[in-house]
Symmetry: none
Subunit: 402 residues, 2 copies
């Protein structure tokens, strides 16, 4: 990871600006042997021109062979060792919807699901009920009372919600109830450490009451809880790098993780065009901008190679030139992880990355793609190295030692 | 860093010789987008021929994005983790002028400076007074008496001197007085750990007396103390690698750091030709030679691209063939860090490096330059890996495990 002691010691003030454009799930694979990846197939004249002036490489989110979730993958991009700083799914979702989570609260991500008459899971997402229905169901669940703690049930999107317990003596260190398969019953919450026993019992009581309340709400007749935990204490990017940092992301989870590292989360819209407008509006106010693009990942998850190619081409046209025209001192284009359409999921493959600044040492990469970046000056490198490199290229680090 | 336990366990005796040629500040950047770096622009037929027979790469002094000072950068080349072994500026300067520093002494680097009538710093280097003037002023400062400790004031060069306190119970863990800006007063020395309080007070007394003595010596009417500390205890290269090692360097600081790792510092002259003569004279006596070239770095610091190119070409002609003709078993050419003329300072960029031996596995690099070395067999590698590689190629390491 970025050596935070070194970063804290060496960072100096500057007027320079850094933009990190994260194209979610950017990396891919050929659909056929010998074929191009999504990025290689895409027509990306703006990214290619940028690559010529950049130092390029492939960034490794966690370690070789390890596929990251979105939370750890983003933490790594921001320089935080994702194996050291672990964020529960519930905390991420809560931050993403702007829920004011306290440091002693426990948050779980909830999914409405369908169980059959034997209580076995028939659909882990309750037929992907619409958001409006989720909102109504959350309203019903707010009737649940637990001894000694306050509860909050907040809709997120579709079949997803956040459950928060607030009170004295709550603990993380809890298992989740989603067995991630069909035809079996939901699990019980278990305490993974002894002091979490009372919290596990409270969550199980809450689930039992939810089951009763939802009994006649088929297909959303049960809930699954994922990643119940407290908020980890992360040093802020201001503390580590001395940066005033802002996040521009349409999708809740990415706003959540940005908030955890102390970024200001800017109001923006659903489209990349609106994200770019937000960037322009706030350009003068921040040193560092994280701009997140979601659609590439969604297309990869759906196994839709052509849609992922289009999404990349859209970023190349609608986002890249707009950012370049703002003349950031350091412009990074990367992804949080790969999402090859071939695999229909996140993967372990390292992610094409470029860093352009007046002071980068350009390599011989002439196009932005997986195979081209393999020969780049950054080689295959840990994603956590990106922020120290960004800081150096922004002339925001002083010399180490005499 | 080089794993010292492994090195100590595995090193074996051999008759082989290793030469490490350190071209200070070797790495560079293009002055114009698309242009060559200093090394790429230089005509270097001898280095290019060597690169063909070598394994090449880019060495990273500290970690990605971190710009090193000369001390830590050299420690890394010798295999010492520079974030673990930190050397104060005063200690480095004292060693460099051959001052016999004891392990309980505290040494500070001193700068003569100019303060105005309000005591605010007007010039941190006292108009860069000549060395002869510095010598006279040091003579004046030797009159200062401190209770219970002996003091030494030794001129270095220009406006710089070394202050050494010798006595019982002195401690490192002290702040420096140079605020590194103008228009503010010098700081007081502060104890960073409780046991350093008496030493801090002694240094502050010394500074107060120096101010009085220098009052009418404008522009050198005050002093700044930098990096006051004791000598760190470093294992010697003899202990770690079993090498009898010698340093050939004109410039004090490099002799200083070599001495700290237990090298014999050989008497030499000011020119690279004299350094080469020193190498030839002592060739039979040592297993390992560190030969240091300074002018490349000075040219980079001055922002003089053409002069740096010339300095590199001079090394190619006057140093490289002479070393090759001695037939070292391992010949390493590297730099301690990059000093791009574009930045006029040390930088974080990794450093072109080649290692030639009968047993290296040559790569496809055909010229010695930044972009060529990017594609070399060593890739981008930690500078602390060089010594284990040198030892292996000198057939001085036995097998690990059965």
């Amino acid at each position: 990871m970025a050596d935070f002691d070194l970063m804290k010691e060496l960072h100096v003030a500057a007027q320079t600006k850094i933009v990190m454009l994260v194209i979610d799930g950017l990396g891919g694979l050929p659909m056929e042997p010998g074929g191009p990846t999504e990025l290689e197939a895409a027509r990306t004249p703006n990214l290619d021109a940028l690559a010529v002036e950049s130092i390029c490489g492939l960034s490794m989110p966690i370690s070789p062979g390890v596929t990251p979730g979105s939370g750890p993958a983003h933490l790594a991009l921001f320089g935080y060792d994702p194996t050291r700083y672990q964020i529960g799914r519930g905390v991420l979702e809560a931050c993403g919807i702007g829920f004011p989570l306290g440091h002693s609260d426990v948050a779980a991500r909830g999914n409405f699901c369908t169980v059959d008459e034997d209580g076995l899971i028939a659909d882990r997402r309750a037929g992907r009920i619409p958001t409006e229905r989720g909102v109504e169901l959350c309203q019903l669940l707010r009737a649940i009372q637990l001894p000694g703690v306050e509860t909050f049930v907040e809709p997120v999107r579709d079949y997803r919600f956040v459950l928060v317990l607030r009170g004295e003596g709550l603990s993380g260190g809890l298992s989740e109830t989603d067995p991630q398969q069909l035809g079996v019953p939901p699990r019980q919450v278990e305490a993974l450490i002894p002091e979490a026993q009372p919290t596990a019992e409270l969550l199980n009581q809450w689930i039992a009451q939810a089951r009763e309340i939802l009994a006649d709400q088929h297909p959303a007749n049960m809930v699954l809880l994922r990643g119940p935990d407290k908020t980890p204490l992360l040093p802020s990017m201001a503390e580590v790098y001395g940066l005033k940092a802002a996040a521009i992301a349409s999708y809740p989870m990415y706003r959540g993780v940005a908030k955890l590292v102390g970024m200001d989360v800017l109001e923006t819209g659903e489209t990349v065009e609106e994200e770019v407008e937000t960037l322009k509006t706030h350009w003068a106010e921040y040193d560092f901008f994280f701009l997140h693009v979601k659609k590439t990942d969604s297309a990869g998850e759906d196994g839709d190679f052509a849609r992922k190619v289009s999404a990349i081409e859209h970023v190349d046209q609608a986002v890249v030139p707009a950012i370049t025209s703002l003349e950031p001192d350091v412009f990074i284009v990367t992804g949080d992880h790969s999402t090859p359409a071939l695999l229909k999921s996140h993967s372990w493959h390292p992610v094409p990355t470029l860093l352009r600044s007046r002071y980068c040492r350009p390599d011989q990469v002439r196009t932005f793609g997986e195979r081209a970046c393999m020969g780049g000056g950054l080689g295959v490198f840990p994603a956590t190295d990106l922020m120290p490199l960004a800081m150096a290229n922004a002339l925001r680090l002083t010399k180490f030692g005499a």
